[in-house]
Symmetry: C2
């Protein structure tokens, strides 16, 4: 994947050079961002979808499919760079976020105007570039006219769904909509469709999978994707900082509207109004370690953790059943089974 | 053009509906923004490029070419929505800018958090959606495999160049780089390539134009595009508010780094240091009408206006010479000639 991405950036140089050093520097930051990191989850699922639907690694043109799958990393670069502006995040993958880095450059050089505004402007434009280049890389990948035709609606759906999920997310956060229905809908579109379901679907469509296999992959992807987000929600409250890389209980301080919190509030509203009031007033504030600890106990005692764990287990079971009943190649079944457990397992 | 865009938005409904009312509302705002307005300059040039290279309005598949050209309006929607965030602009096309509109909704509904931050987040995401949908509309336009193959590198260059030009623009503004070389480079990539040269090139590539015609269109487009921006720079200082819709002398108050200002500073530095100091200290501040008037006289007396007018005339001449020497169809030559004069003529 990294090779395909490096190759794409190399080929872009002839477009970038004429605009000059300022643009080249911005592009270098984007390339570093893309190559440095992440777990390549989306390309890996897309690749698995292709292999599982009959793709062969030693067939001619395999490198074109690899490039099409790798282009998902550029969508993800846009999503992260723009999300970090929206969430005002300071670090990402162990480095300053892009807009923070450009604000620093502005400050170091003693330029005019507001460094933060400059950083955000640069982040918006570099994110846009990543999104445009994702399309260029995908559509330029020469996977063949038929494969491209089959993949086109999946590609369109994936990008629309993740942006729809993100928009829903900011509205739900602002409006304080604490329902578990909204939380699960955000999980569905912002995480599951974008991270697992559509990448698998995309790879399978490129390989020319039949409807039954695509349907199985989509069921697997949607269920595992939601389970993955539910596990992430648990980690955001109960995770070990050494594992998550984030301060313990960070989601509680940030007031993130997760299904976990929704379940806790629903349970409290039904039977323990005092606990509901405590939760509502505490979440989203600057909590001490002791506050976080007592909120954790409260959330557990309200049965919310058990409910989420049960949901993760049910979703994973359903996903694995759909996978194993499908016509996917056996090597891919094993690989997807392992990935499903890896992204949903309890690690705290 | 509006019909093709309306059609595209209609077909997107099946993707938008499942995400829910919040997303549908955001998409409706985008659709209103795209359909409401603008002069459709880029699709018109792309269409002219196609016609000029042998496209026929009554040929089968013409509506597909129209859709491919109309997709440029979605790129422009992203560019404007994100630019308005970057420039902190309050109004656009006679309406509140998108981020201002979403901040208002946030405020009206009494939601939590900062209304301005919410507005910006919504604007970033809706701009991203416009950019992703531009690609979907273009690549879904069924112009044929060969035409698509020819158009692909032009499409890629256009989006890369405009983002490169915008990045250069924010760096030049922040760094206070007052050289006319930088100003002209921004004109070249942010305006000329994106507005005239590449749209013409795109249409011609779809039609299968030969290298000589493409070269002529690109010369015409680059020259007229730069001349158009130079005229816009003059209007930003000398324009009648009734015509431009902006306060008189707005570019002087905003401190915009135009070629006009660069020429004035270069001339002053060479012969009138006092005038140079006056210009540097005044530009970018909250100027009175009288201040603006005296800066105008100063800029004229430094010969900067005459230099820009000469450059516009030279560029227009060169562009028209290339156009008329080309193999473009005669109807298109007439249309492009008229458009060239319309976008570069003196109107104040």
């Amino acid at each position: 994947m990294a090779g395909a991405l490096r190759d794409f950036f190399r080929k872009r140089r002839s477009l970038v050079e004429p605009v000059g050093t300022e643009f080249r520097s911005a592009v270098n930051h984007l390339e570093d961002f893309v190559l440095r990191g992440g777990k390549r989850v989306r390309p890996t699922f897309a690749w698995a979808g292709w292999l599982g639907a009959g793709g062969h690694v030693d067939a001619p043109g395999t490198h074109n499919v690899l490039a099409a799958c790798a282009s998902l990393e550029l969508i993800q670069a846009c999503a992260l760079i723009h999300d970090d502006i929206i969430d005002n995040s300071r670090t990402r993958r162990g480095f300053p976020t892009l807009h923070v880095e450009f604000a620093r450059q502005h400050r170091d050089k003693g330029w005019g105007g507001d460094p933060e505004a400059f950083g955000e402007a640069a982040g918006i434009l570099i994110g846009d570039l990543a999104l445009a280049w994702a399309d260029d890389m995908f559509h330029g990948s020469e996977i063949g006219t038929d494969a491209r035709q089959r993949a086109l609606p999946v590609w369109a759906a994936m990008r629309t769904e993740v942006l729809g999920g993100q928009l829903l997310d900011i509205v739900v956060e602002a409006s304080g909509d604490g329902s578990h229905g909204s939380a699960l809908k955000i999980n569905r579109f912002k995480t599951a469709a974008y991270t697992v379901e559509r990448p698998l679907h995309l790879g399978a469509a490129i390989a020319g999978a039949d409807d039954a296999l695509i349907s199985a992959f989509r069921t697997f992807g949607a269920d595992i994707g939601i389970a993955f987000q539910l596990r992430d929600d648990l980690l955001g409250v109960f995770g070990d900082p050494a594992t998550t890389g984030k301060p313990s209980g960070d989601d509680l301080r940030a007031g993130k509207r997760t299904a976990l919190l929704a379940y806790a509030l629903e349970s409290a509203d039904a039977s323990r109004p005092g606990a509901a009031a405590t939760l509502r007033s505490a979440v989203g504030t600057d909590l001490s370690e002791a506050d976080v600890d007592s909120l954790r106990s409260l959330i557990i005692s309200l049965g919310a953790v058990a409910r989420v764990e049960k949901q993760i287990a049910d979703l994973t079971d359903r996903a694995l059943t759909a996978l194993h009943a499908s016509s996917a190649s056996s090597g891919t079944k094993d690989a997807l089974h392992a990935m499903a457990l890896a992204v949903t397992r309890r690690t705290y």
